[in-house]
């Protein structure tokens, strides 16, 4: 718990001093405007939910991948990974705490996209507030866990940064937040089920709708489960990666 807190406090302090890292948050209103304009959301209520929800979820994901995904790589390049690893105890809770701080801050994406929607004259009502709240929390959890996995995957390859973008858009497509899943080729559709974002988006969309929410618990479970798988993979990979770096002697990266 202490190590988790140490990570959380470190990242909070770092974020407070680096607004540059938060540029992703600035893109959310822009995306929201684009989506609203493209879908003519105001006059097609069926799509307005998506036009607001999609940029929020995208912003959440980008924050996780670009800010949290970089943590270990950044530490390695700046020589801070070595002393962190030399400290007793596991690195995983420290990283989790740091990503937690990023994710918590990322909640502001919902406010942003909602505000832009409202400015556009859009009235969104959360018809199922409990489901929505649970969905938002579960989504944050799954996003943080998946970001932890990506943070670990980005350590070994050089020029890892280019992957950050190239994994994001396919994920958005698969999750049906930009275009409906039905627009994807048949053979791709089953893959959607493996993306937590697919379940998240579906659940939040339902929570905003007037109809009763089907299978709320099942879908929540899917989000949490996929998040947990990500967290497990992250912990496993982190151990492997650290051992590898200690053997290669490139923990300090000079």
């Amino acid at each position: 718990m202490n190590r988790y807190l140490a990570g959380f406090r470190l990242q909070t302090a770092l974020l407070r001093r680096a607004f540059g890292d938060l540029h992703t948050l600035l893109t959310v209103p822009v995306y929201t405007l684009i989506f609203l304009a493209m879908t003519d959301g105001v006059h097609r209520p069926g799509l307005s939910t998506d036009a607001v929800l999609a940029p929020a979820l995208m912003g959440l994901w980008f924050m996780a991948v670009f800010t949290a995904g970089d943590l270990i790589v950044w530490d390695r390049h700046h020589g801070t990974l070595e002393p962190t690893v030399a400290a007793p105890g596991s690195l995983a809770p420290v990283i989790t705490g740091r990503i937690g701080a990023v994710t918590l801050l990322s909640f502001v994406v919902y406010v942003e996209s909602w505000a832009v929607g409202a400015g556009y004259g859009l009235r969104l009502t959360v018809h199922h507030p409990l489901v929505f709240l649970a969905g938002v929390v579960a989504t944050a959890f799954a996003t943080a866990c998946t970001a932890a996995m990506i943070a670990t995957l980005l350590v070994l390859p050089r020029n890892a940064q280019i992957y950050q973008n190239s994994v994001s858009w396919p994920l958005f497509l698969l999750s049906g937040i930009i275009v409906p899943i039905s627009a994807l080729p048949d053979w791709l559709r089953p893959l959607s089920r493996l993306s937590f974002l697919y379940w998240s988006a579906g659940l939040l969309r339902s929570a905003l709708g007037t109809h009763p929410v089907d299978d709320a618990l099942l879908r929540l479970t899917a989000v949490v489960l996929l998040g947990t798988v990500g967290a497990g993979a992250a912990a496993f990979l982190l151990r492997k990666v650290l051992t590898r770096l200690r053997v290669l002697g490139t923990l300090g990266y000079s």
């Binding site: 202490n2 190590r3 807190l5 140490a6 406090r9 470190l10 302090a13 770092l14 001093r17 680096a18 700046h78 020589g79 801070t80 070595e82 002393p83 962190t84 690893v85 030399a86 400290a87 007793p88 105890g89 420290v94 051992t243 200690r246 053997v247 002697g249 923990l251 300090g252």
Partner: protein
Amino acid sequence: MNAIQTRALRRVFTAGRDKRGKSGSRTALDGVDLSIPPGEVHGLLGPNGAGKTTLCKILSTVLVPTSGSASVMGHDVVTGLAAVRPLVGCVFGGDRGLYGRLSGRKNLAYWAALYGVPRRLIDGRTTTLLDRFGLAGRADERVETYSRGMKQRLHLARGLVHNPPVLLLDEPTTGMDPVSAMDFRRLIGELRNEGRTVLVTTHDMAEAEAVCDRVTLVNDGRILHSASPQELSALVSRYGRVEARNVPDTLTQRVRILPGVTRVATDTDGVTRIELASADAAPPVLRLLIERGVTDLATCRPGLEEVYLHLIADRGMEVGR
């Protein structure tokens, strides 16, 4: 039990491919046996690339040995990782290794938390350390605005944040001004009085002599010699020399046959180098030169590199690779 113990410690780096596409490997440590008893301040001296940092990294568990073993307070650095880490404080100097955007205080507080210092103690501990290292006045400024020497002091403070019994200091005085370097010597004295074991690497023979109980000379991943500072300074004066300008040829001939003179050579700039085999060889040489009116002269302590060369030559080892 030794505080630090290595046996036949070897570390090989497989370097990336070179220009010709050959992938080579480099032996950074080549069978190092080192024993440091608790409470000793031990100096590790060696030229660039000798393997000093590599040894420190292995002892701090961030690097795995290729073969052989190393232990800290009886715990193996590979199999007893979890036991070793809380015992060791490491200071890898330089500009890196700190969060530049955060203040010195925030940096220290983070590392304290990471090293498991209880939360209620963190504030007091960081303040004390910032004071001790003369950073109190700048404690709340961003580290990226610190000078190199100040960063170095922050590194030292971090090494002590969890009060470890064993300290590894890798070139702790790089970037420090002479006053700070003197403060550093006092600090080492304090650490010794507190009963800590210190392994300190340096290029500076005088610094090693001043602060260490024992000094080990390393070169090319091997230990050349382990000695007390007294033995070391005897060694140094043994390889002392006299340099003089405008020495006439006839005088050179006479100096050459004085006892303890091993070599006399005059270079193109007119500087005559007289190498001596013992400390007592110097006075007669100086006397003779002064009597004959040579006033532009100096006695020189050999640099570290010279001592190595002598030691290597004495042992019939090959220099370089």
